[in-house]
């Protein structure tokens, strides 16, 4: 279906179009009447006025002819009739002119002409008769009568023509006047009606533009206040209506959206509640789990600590022989010194001062033994897991306290490469000592396993690994026969060992790995070959601020 819309453009264009139309109408009407008037006036000018003139001239000529004939008769002078003749010629010429005038009826004019000519012939004849002095007999009187008739007829005709022309002129003028009045009246009517109509149309157009706009404004106010329930209806059928429809769609859409939003909000609320309750449940569960995990962790930690402890004890067990050697050596010194003192006392060859001097190594070795035992006791005690800043060099030295003698007995040379004042690391002395001890024990075992006559060698190096003291590195290098590739994969696994049954627990490196990881450090095999193995331990340095 075609629906023609009256748009704003049309409405706005309507006014000038209407004005133009009215002007055109006025123009046409005035043109029409003016043309009619012009035609009338032209007709008057072209036919009536000349007709009047011709009529007047003809009448004048007729009078003149009559007079000149009268003169000629009165004077009894035939010559004077020539004047009448010339007047007659003029009359005929005028006649010809008159015949061209559309006003005159050619037929009637022809009759007039004929009558005039008859008149003239008669007049001429009778004039001559009268001049000759012919008596007024019956014939002459008859002729005179005829002449009189002709003359009167011609005169009457001329008069009637003239008066008719006059009448026609006045009629035409009256018609022209009537036309002008009528045109003025019609134009007035058109102007008034056009003005009224124009006013009406303007009012209608302005109403039809503004009223939907104000409706729209009201509707937008309502929407702005949040009232989405009322429909926006604009029935103007123009752009405003299009706008209104668009706004209506927007309103409906917004309403839907708001409803959807409301629903979604409610849904969300509901879900939040649901989820919250679920979450509370989950939280409770998680709390339980966390507690369980904490318990598990605690037990794990204690298990780990126990493991470390047992590893330690195992290594103590391993070290027991070595420690025996460690203690044996000062004991031997004490014993020998004791024997020497007793013999000297027996012989009495020794003075008190010399005796005092001999007590000094006893004292020293006893202290050393005490030291070893104290250290052993401290070492075997379970670690508290508390970290404190410690010197790596001291750590190494303390570790050697328990194994130095053993290494010596095993014919292993120890080369310490410890630069002074290394950066401190944060850690547990006891645990780290266990690591070092474990690595040294492994080195000793590796060297021992290799056998050979040449003395084994262990090189221990402590150094700063990075420029900013971020890492401290301990390298322990032995001259053993290296670790095979297959073994290398498993060395940090618990209960993995290559040593003979009863000699190793398989926990040493595994525990060391755990300890170093706990210290955020790294323990790895830096290098291994048949010529020896190098273990590397890296610990984060304590950056002094």
């Amino acid at each position: 279906m075609m629906f023609k819309q009256v748009t704003l453009k049309h409405k706005i264009l309507m006014l000038p179009c209407f004005a133009l139309g009215a002007l055109l109408l006025l123009f046409l009407v005035s043109q029409f009447f003016m043309e009619r008037n012009t035609a009338l006036l032209a007709h008057i000018e072209s036919s009536f006025v000349p007709a009047l003139e011709v009529g007047r001239d003809l009448a004048q000529r007729l009078t003149e002819i009559q007079r000149s004939m009268q003169d000629a008769v009165a004077a009894a002078d035939e010559e004077r009739l020539f004047k009448a003749d010339s007047l007659y010629d003029e009359f005929l010429q005028l006649f010809e002119r008159g015949q061209k005038n559309p006003f005159f009826n050619a037929k009637k004019l022809e009759q007039l002409n004929r009558e005039f000519q008859e008149y003239y012939v008669l007049a001429r004849k009778t004039s001559l008769h009268l001049i000759e002095g012919r008596s007024l007999d019956e014939d002459l009187i008859g002729e005179l009568e005829t002449m009189r008739e002709r003359y009167n007829s011609v005169k009457a005709q001329l008069q009637s023509k003239t008066s008719q022309a006059k009448e026609d002129v006045s009629t035409s003028f009256a018609a022209a006047l009537r036309n002008s009045r009528r045109s003025a009246m019609i134009m007035n009517v058109i102007i008034i009606s056009c003005t009224l109509l124009f006013g009406g149309v303007s009012f209608y157009i302005s109403r039809s533009i503004t009223s939907p706009l104000s409706d729209l404004v009201k509707a937008t106010d309502r929407i702005a206040q949040g009232d989405l329930t009322q429909k926006i209806v604009v029935r103007s059928g123009d752009e405003v209506a299009v706008l209104g429809n668009a706004m209506e769609r927007m309103r409906v859409e917004r309403k839907h959206v708001e409803e959807a939003l409301k629903q979604a909000h409610e849904e969300l609320e509901r879900r939040v509640e649901e989820r919250t309750s679920q979450l509370v449940e989950i939280n409770k569960q998680m709390k339980r789990e966390i507690e369980e995990r904490k318990r598990a962790e605690k037990s794990l930690k204690s298990a780990q600590a126990q493991l470390i402890q047992s590893g330690k004890l195992a290594s103590i067990g391993e070290l027991a022989a070595g420690i025996a050697h460690e203690l044996n050596q000062p004991l031997m010194v004490i014993r020998t010194t004791g024997q020497f003192i007793r013999r000297s006392l027996d012989k009495g060859t020794v003075g008190v001062d010399a005796l005092k001097e001999h007590f000094e190594p006893i004292d020293r070795n006893t202290r050393r033994m005490m030291n070893i035992i104290n250290h052993l006791r401290a070492f075997s005690r379970q670690s508290q897991g508390e970290f404190s800043p410690l010197n790596v060099n001291r750590l190494i030295e303390e570790s050697f306290l328990m194994i130095e003698e053993q290494l010596r007995l095993h014919n292993i040379e120890v080369q310490k490469n410890l630069p002074p004042n290394p950066p401190k690391v944060l850690g547990d002395m006891n645990q780290l000592e266990q690591v070092v001890l474990n690595l040294l024990t492994n080195a000793r075992d590796a060297i021992e396993a290799k056998g050979g006559k040449e003395p084994g060698q262990i090189e221990i190096v402590s150094r700063v690994f990075s420029d900013d003291n971020a890492w401290v590195e301990i390298l322990i290098k032995d001259s053993g026969d290296g670790i095979s590739e297959d073994t290398l994969e498993n060395i940090f696994d618990p209960f993995f060992t290559t040593k003979e049954v009863g000699k190793g627990t398989g926990l040493g490196l595994s525990i060391s790995y755990g300890i170093i990881r706990e210290h955020q450090g790294v323990i790895e095999v830096a290098e291994t070959s048949p010529k020896g193995t190098t273990f590397r331990v890296r610990l984060p340095g304590l950056i002094e601020t």
Partner: protein, 149 residues
């Protein structure tokens, strides 16, 4: 010279008129026998002859005046007596009347007999004849000329 002659003629004529003033009429005015009019003043007759009145009062018949010839002495007398004008004046009057298309002059008859014959035949006719003519042979009526009332 011309004016002198004219003057002399006028003087002579006036003398003549004075001489014959009290004379009895030398002409009879006659009408058709059926005409009811029997008395007319000279003025009335003049008017009728100059065709200023074209119908008879009583009968409403057309008036047909009939004149004597221009050169007749009777006519001259008639003009002088009735019209109180000379023939030439009457002539001029008629010329004007002719050419202005108003009226045609009365018919002229060459003799009293012809006049009598015309009047006898034409009802509504009026004429004048010499008093010496025996009018009893014709059925015409003589009008008494009466003085102006």
């Amino acid at each position: 010279m011309k004016y002198k002659l004219l003057f002399i003629t006028c003087v002579l004529l006036s003398i003549n008129s004075l001489l014959f003033a009290e004379e009895i009429e030398t002409f009879y005015v006659i009408v058709h026998a059926s005409n009811p009019h029997s008395k007319l003043t000279k003025e009335e007759i003049s008017i009728l002859f100059l065709k200023k009145i074209t119908r008879w009062k009583e009968t409403n018949e057309l008036v047909y005046p009939v004149d004597q010839l221009k050169n007749s002495s009777l006519r001259e007398e008639f003009s002088r007596d009735v019209h109180q004008k000379k023939i030439s004046a009457i002539k001029a009057y008629w010329q004007q009347q002719i050419f202005s298309g108003r009226e045609v002059p009365p018919m002229e008859k060459a003799s009293d007999q012809e006049v009598l014959k015309y009047v006898e035949q034409k009802s509504g006719a009026i004429g004048y004849v010499s008093a010496s003519v025996d009018i009893h042979e014709y059925e015409v009526k003589v009008i008494d000329l009466i003085e102006k009332e």
